[in-house]
Symmetry: C2
Subunit: 325 residues, 2 copies
């Protein structure tokens, strides 16, 4: 009997980290979660990450030798040559050589990817992406992440990951963005921007259901809370979400005009909680703002893999990097 | 002595058509021009095109057998699988199977490309593009054309050419575009939009030099005339051009955020006539609107090949399609 090679995918998020061990055919064996607690500093987070990896492998009971590699998705741009994290604002990281650090401690090959790139690749390989020639992933969350898989490969710059759709200019002289500039798409259309507008609407008395459900604290305004408030009749919240989806759709239309993707995959908690309404607006905006000959050909779909997109993608990407696709 | 293979490149423009015959090493042998006169209808234009091709080959005195192929650049989107012209507004063409028509009459392999794609490929291979991994071409003219060469290949959709930067939304509820929508980049920042604003400024008495040079008829407002008026002190015209260049620069910044190109090549008559001023504004806009880690790495340059970019590119592309790169 030949020895199976296993692959580990890790999604390092701002709030939690998820590790999942897969067989050579990418069937899930074991998964484990841990809190990230980025405020403890990079050292503590990395130690927790190393422990999580070790525990996951131990739980599966596979010999260390049969772990083919570890793929990580991180919330920020990465240097695709070195696997360093260029910046991860939610973790307070800046130029952290994560791949090197983990390779030293884990005795396995490590590859570091942007989390949305990994998630888009996951959907491309195992989800709604159908292994199409050009798949775009758009994930509105605290920011708005984007990724592109083209001819089976993640689209990157020569040195750095890219597809920073969240920082396309949406509104000249617009709202302040986390990057310090103004009017970026994510400053207007992310779940955080929606939450801010919704809290203001609740404060003004325009969203009584939401006010009752969650008050006016942004921390309480989760995607599911927004969905509940809309279901309960808060028209103002519905308007806010639809408007944000349209703005993302206008940016998606520019992407369609530029690179004519086959499939656009929309993912993340907001899209999961409000799929019908959200996709409706994005589709309408693409149809009215992209050139008809390109808009007609693009499929716009919800992601299928949920939280597993990034871990599956990262595991498959490290397998491919090791020549085992 | 082995027989050389020659390649013919044709740039079919709205006003003129240019044919150029090249050696296997892409040295120019013969070139000829002809008026397009699109108002005569597709049949007449195609007949003129066939005559121009025949005359160019005849003038070079090469045997028909040694013509390896004919590459054409056309002013509009093309079907990359069939070589049909999907639409060419300046010629009044719609779904014209140009490749098939010419292959029947020319007894040589024919390939049809979007003209800006061909020009971008020309600059990539022989001009300022340095054969970089990702080269973007932006050509503001009557519209604004865009092209992308990625890993040595023109970036296209599965079926159709793309990179329609001119139809990215620049101004919500903005000016009427030739495509029928409002606020597209080319409705605000093309040479035609600049000419319209300049004519209005001349009419209002804000551009005395331009009024004297060319009056208020858009047909007379060529790029060189605009350059002369600026040199003669028309500040209003300088403001108009700078503003348009900034708008194109903002769109270029979105492209940088998305696909992190190595080089952006700016070409066409307007850029040639006003290179310094134009590039200054585009560079400034990219630096202030793209993410620093991506903006820092992109070179922004003027095209080098002028009118020869498209014929060279089209000739080299058909050579590559025939397995002779």
């Amino acid at each position: 009997m030949s020895k199976t090679t296993y692959w580990l995918g890790v999604d390092l998020g701002g709030t939690k980290m998820l590790a999942a061990l897969f067989t050579g055919k990418f069937k899930l064996l074991v998964e484990r979660k841990e809190k990230t607690s980025g405020q403890d500093g990079a050292k503590a987070v990395i130690a927790r990450l190393q422990q999580l990896i070790a525990d996951t492998v131990a739980e599966a009971g596979i010999p260390e030798k049969q772990l083919g590699g570890i793929g990580l998705g991180v919330p920020g741009p990465v240097n695709v040559q070195t696997g360093a994290v260029i910046s991860a604002p939610n973790l307070g990281w800046h130029n952290l050589p994560l791949q090197k650090i983990l390779e030293r401690s884990c005795h396995s090959p490590v590859r570091v990817f942007n989390d949305v790139d990994a998630g888009t690749y996951g959907e491309f390989r195992f989800g709604t992406g159908e292994q199409a020639r050009c798949v775009i992933g758009l994930f509105p969350g605290t920011g708005i992440g984007g990724g592109c898989v083209y001819d089976g490969k993640i689209f990157t710059g020569r040195e750095n990951s890219c597809f920073e759709i969240g920082h396309m200019l949406a509104v000249p002289e617009g709202r302040l963005c986390g990057c310090g500039r103004h009017g970026c798409l994510e400053a207007h259309a992310s779940r955080l921007a929606i939450a801010a507008d919704s809290a203001a609407a609740a404060y003004r008395g325009q969203a009584p259901a939401l006010l009752k459900l969650a008050g006016t604290d942004l921390r309480e305004l989760k995607s599911r809370t927004l969905a509940k408030s809309i279901a309960a009749g808060d028209r103002a919240i519905e308007d806010i979400v639809r408007r944000a989806a349209r703005q993302l759709g206008v940016a998606a239309a520019s992407i369609v005009n530029l690179i004519a993707p086959d499939i656009i995959v929309l993912g993340g908690g907001l899209v999961e909680a409000l799929e019908k309404l959200y996709l409706e607006e994005v589709r309408a905006a693409v149809m009215s703002h992209a050139m008809p000959l390109l808009a007609d050909r693009v499929k716009i779909r919800a992601a299928q893999l949920g939280d597993h997109a990034s871990v599956l993608g990262a595991a498959a990407l490290v397998a491919e990097a090791r020549g085992k696709p």
